[in-house]
Symmetry: C3
Subunit: 346 residues, 3 copies
Amino acid sequence: MSHTLGQLAANVQGVVKGNPNLIIEKLGTLENATPQELSFLANPKYQSQLATTSAGAVLVKTEELAQLVENAIVVANPYLAFAQLSTLFVPRTQCWSGIHPSAVVSSTAQLASDVVVGPNVVIDDNVVIAEGSVIGAGCVLSRGVRLGKNTKLYPNVTLYHDVVLGDSCIIHSAAVIGADGFGFAPNEGCWEKIHQLGSVVLGDAVEVGASTTIDRGAIENTLIGNGVKIDNQVQIAHNVIIGDNTAIAASTAIAGSTKIGALCTISGGVCIAGHLTIIDHVHITGMSLISNSILESGSYSSGMGMEPTSKWRRTVARVRRIDDMAKQFLQLKQQVNKFLEKVDNK
Amino acid sequence: MSHTLGQLAANVQGVVKGNPNLIIEKLGTLENATPQELSFLANPKYQSQLATTSAGAVLVKTEELAQLVENAIVVANPYLAFAQLSTLFVPRTQCWSGIHPSAVVSSTAQLASDVVVGPNVVIDDNVVIAEGSVIGAGCVLSRGVRLGKNTKLYPNVTLYHDVVLGDSCIIHSAAVIGADGFGFAPNEGCWEKIHQLGSVVLGDAVEVGASTTIDRGAIENTLIGNGVKIDNQVQIAHNVIIGDNTAIAASTAIAGSTKIGALCTISGGVCIAGHLTIIDHVHITGMSLISNSILESGSYSSGMGMEPTSKWRRTVARVRRIDDMAKQFLQLKQQVNKFLEKVDNK
Amino acid sequence: MSHTLGQLAANVQGVVKGNPNLIIEKLGTLENATPQELSFLANPKYQSQLATTSAGAVLVKTEELAQLVENAIVVANPYLAFAQLSTLFVPRTQCWSGIHPSAVVSSTAQLASDVVVGPNVVIDDNVVIAEGSVIGAGCVLSRGVRLGKNTKLYPNVTLYHDVVLGDSCIIHSAAVIGADGFGFAPNEGCWEKIHQLGSVVLGDAVEVGASTTIDRGAIENTLIGNGVKIDNQVQIAHNVIIGDNTAIAASTAIAGSTKIGALCTISGGVCIAGHLTIIDHVHITGMSLISNSILESGSYSSGMGMEPTSKWRRTVARVRRIDDMAKQFLQLKQQVNKFLEKVDNK
């Protein structure tokens, strides 16, 4: 997996400063990279590390920064170039090719000839998998699942019946796509199950994190747009619709029938109530509660950062009495104003 | 899976208005249903959609509403009727019958003759499974697990040793029931594991969502009552007791030894501390923190909805200083009152 | 699994009061223990239960307390002694020995001779497993994974390539270790994946809860220290570093590159932002948001407990207007002070 600096530069339309024949074996951080490693400077506040890094070469933004190290690649966007080059250093991790003999594949399933199916995979009736896709060990693809091209399932993913994934998706382990939405009608003190008759459809280039759950729709489908990136432990309820290229960080939960626009960025630990509309280009900061629709793009928050517990307890005690304080304040204000008026009128 | 309108009405004790021989093939929303689909009007605010829907027929509450469409079923509770009818439209998704040859079933396990066991299932010693139950692919039922009648495990569920499930339960994929409770005794800067010797017992008609975890008790059992419905990504710690027909939405966490009553509804993203008592008929709104027992039924909250980030930051800065503001306010009030007293006394 | 009281006392350096030949078959709570069970009094507030317990014997702290029951073991720390004894009462749950014939084990994997591998396990190329380790059914150990001695994986755990676990670790079901960190570079309205080239290294005696996810590092490794205990449904992002013997309760999420010290205790439902430093001996209470580094040991909070919903709504409405109230208060204060000054000057 080694490349010359010149080859790497060519991959990202960069200009080499220094030795284009330098052999690069890995990517590294400015702090810890060795002379065989390529690092990058994306954030100007780390510029001082250029003086001390042992990295063999560094991706930088300008010719001036390149002068600070012996070898560099000058690119418009070092962070993006680093992302693009990272694909060249992924180790080979796949241990199987073709369909592993322990896999249980229905005779009615249609798999493109180059699909890789790991050990103990279960592929039910009428599943369709397009070329280039890879199914990790222990995955279960239920009846009627359809996968696009070059989609990768890591081990132990579960896809319920009729779930559809586009091309170039990546689904991490223990993710569950298509489980029943949480729908029950109250019936004399019990809950009558509303069978969930919709499915889940993912667009192309969707990434779904480990242990994330995306429920099937009640009647219509849950829809995840193209290029959506979802982190670990995220819960997406039935009939949610998520627009293209929205990114959702870990441990966020989105309740049923909420519609989220394109190019939103949702931080971790957020809860979004059901039946809301959030338009495009909305950013939500960590641990916020979204209980109303957001119809204007911008950044929204309701997370409150920690304080020492003893101080926080006093704060909470005051907040609990804020309604009382506000009333007393109003009263005092009126009292003062009345008095001052009287004085003025004298 | 098609039914006549008359057949469907008979299933829910409804009265047909229009053509009882109309063939219904699916359920649909008022907005998108086709002439082959049955829809429902549960919420009066969508009544205007009756004028425009293309649905073949609609479940409605009154004769008057039925007049607004060509075909209808009049029932006391359209939402409940819809739930009851939904079971008739569930597609056949099971691809196996009997015990799949790839399943590993202990010779000491006792399975009723009609139990369905999918591929790659593991059933350990002394497991007992009653009639009508279905075990999805890749599930692991550890030593001594007992399942009631007609209970369904979706693929890749893990049940630890001695876990007991009642009749008619549904357990979704990647759920884990019976893992160790989180119990450790501090010992000279380390943690000594408290082996978790209890188990988990689920009543009848319990539904457990995907990726939900219910821990085994430390000494006694964790207990989940009849008819309890638990959404995805919920964490239930050791020795929690949950009363009948309580419903718990996604991403909620309940700490150890807390006792929750019957018929409670707990929204998503809630955290409930340990060793609390919550009585029957309590409703908790989304993202609340429950740090005290609740001994009076009703609705409880502590989630605060989002604001634009810039406004929220000002709010937080003020909240952090609320103790100081309250003290200053008290001082001002005393100052004013003292002055006004003096004036009055003149 | 029965032991005499004398044998149990010897295990915990305790002194028997009463009958050392009493047969103890189980551990039990003071409230529900039978005469065949040993209970413990750890919390003085339950002392009154000594008078009524049916337990055969009780672990107590002092000779005086021992006098209140017929049989007792006197130890310095009854809770710790209880933890230590709990290991003697764990039932045998393992149903397999050696390598189950259904397991798929690469010819290049190196397993110590006594390693137990359950049914349907997948062990990829170059995996190394040291003596005494047990791999539960359905686990997947990807290429290059290394496990120390006496480490136990419960069923359906997924370890991605090159993940390293120390000795005596316990990993619960559906945990995923080594999935990709959530890293993407924005590129003209899309997200360019940053391939995650680091791995995850766990020290010795780490416990990882069910459905917990620990992501691999972007360039360097995610590091979990010795003796760290992690509950269920926890999310640990790429390049997080956690110091020895820190304990993390359920449903907590820690964002990327955050460094947490040793001997911290983090309660459930906490969200910790990325790129922070938290030093040793920090305690964080439930549902707090940590958005800044913590450089002084102690307890920190930002969770606010619930109130009846109607009262809470008034509180929230006031909090939203606190900035306005503070400004009005300042104005009133200035007005009053100015007036009082004027009066004083007369």
